[in-house]
């Protein structure tokens, strides 16, 4: 009697453990599957919105406009290192006289190293392949309140018109030099990572664009037109810089 009741107890223990595990796992799987698509859509939307922000374009709220912009104006390429590059053109209805849609700029997938982990961002570079448009951080593991402040809107926007090689200045010193940007107090390692990521993107930009232009005649034309157009324009806009020799 004693023996079999102990055995029964053991069998029940095992059975119970199994049953409750199966129960919990099923519920979790259910919840996961119900929300998985929504989570993925959210992530893609967030990434697309950030990309447009990096290109200093207005970010639409609704998904339809967003998708329309992406299908009309944004084209994806990959550079030699496997990183994504997007070309941004103006919308179809603008500038009917030229017939070709003007090149607005490029967005590079940037990767850097922060204090705690990797930083990923969209880096917007002007069509001249030299000056930045904006920066939109998509992923980081930095300390909230310190390094995580790179998410703040002012931080990315301050890069408009800046060019490499970049150096960081103390926060709120607002230098007018095109190669300086404001850091964040208490987040030195994070800012260093961002700086080095941006400098890498900027130094590789001309080469990367030349490489992808070779694979796409339309892009190659657009780049050529842009260069020709800007050579005849004294100051295409942004921070004043030294005059350069023609193309």
């Amino acid at each position: 009697m004693k023996f079999s009741s102990k055995r029964r107890e053991r069998i029940f223990t095992v059975f119970f453990m199994f049953a409750i595990s199966v129960f919990c796992i099923s519920i979790l799987t259910g919840v996961y599957l119900a929300s998985r698509d929504r989570i993925r859509v959210n992530q893609t939307l967030a990434s697309k919105r950030a990309l447009l922000a990096a290109a200093r374009m207005p970010v639409p709220d609704d998904q339809r406009t967003l998708d329309a912009i992406f299908s009309n104006q944004v084209k994806a390429y990959t550079n030699a290192g496997g990183r994504a590059i997007y070309s941004i053109r103006q919308g179809a209805s603008s500038d009917p006289s030229s017939g070709r849609r003007q090149l607005l700029g490029f967005v590079f997938e940037g990767r850097g190293q922060g204090l705690w982990g990797g930083i990923r961002a969209w880096v917007g570079v002007r069509a001249d392949r030299k000056h930045l448009m904006s920066l939109a951080i998509t992923e980081h593991s930095e300390t909230p309140g310190l390094g995580a402040r790179i998410d703040e809107p002012w931080f990315g926007k301050q890069f408009s018109g800046k060019t490499g090689p970049l150096t960081a200045r103390p926060e709120k010193t607002a230098s007018s030099l095109a190669t300086e940007f404001d850091g964040i107090t208490g987040a030195t390692a994070t800012i260093d990572g961002v700086r080095s990521m941006l400098n890498t993107v900027l130094s590789n930009a001309p080469g990367d664009i030349a490489a992808i232009a070779r694979t796409d005649a339309d892009l190659s034309n657009a780049v050529f037109l842009y260069d020709a157009h800007s050579a005849t324009n004294k100051n295409p806009g942004g921070i004043p810089r030294k005059e350069e020799a023609g193309p």
Partner: protein, 206 residues
Amino acid sequence: MTLAKPRMGRVIFDGLFANNPVFVQVLGICSTLAVTNVFENTLVMCIGLVFTTGLSNFSVSLLRSLIPGRIRMIVETLVIASWVIVFDIIIKATLPEISKALGAYVGLIITNCIVMGRAEAFALANKPLISMADGIANGLGYTWVLLAVAFVRELLGSGSIFGVRVLGEWWTNWNIMVMAPGGFFVLAILIWIVRGRMLRSKEGVR
């Protein structure tokens, strides 16, 4: 707590004040303190804790007569972990940015001593509904303490409350409040004030 059947009102009062997890039981100071440098993140974390403690107490209490003694802790852990995963999925779907900011700390609700502690101390011996109330009350007791810490840390460290800048340009941020030592000090001071009061009032009664 295990004398007569505990009454709902008493249970709630104890969880919030008399048997407060942080000041009296000294539990769960661990993980959540890390996110208290931003008020909004703390709020979401604490909601997660209240959610988890309440529901896991409820579940454990429902099963209390069935759970074999030997695997008691494993079953509790399994139940707690499941509820935490549910919460994690919910915030990933509805508040993706906060979920990213919280990072690994949501998962650490599982090892928060309060959740396991209440399951062991209360849920195993009481009915489901009142166990859930006890879980929620303890969770809320923990919440108000952490929100107080977070309020001070965000105000002094970033000059803002809930992301809205309230202190003007004249305020120099106390970076120490945003970094680790700030959390320890603020909580220590808060404990000092509250426990000091509690001890003095006990002596007054005597």
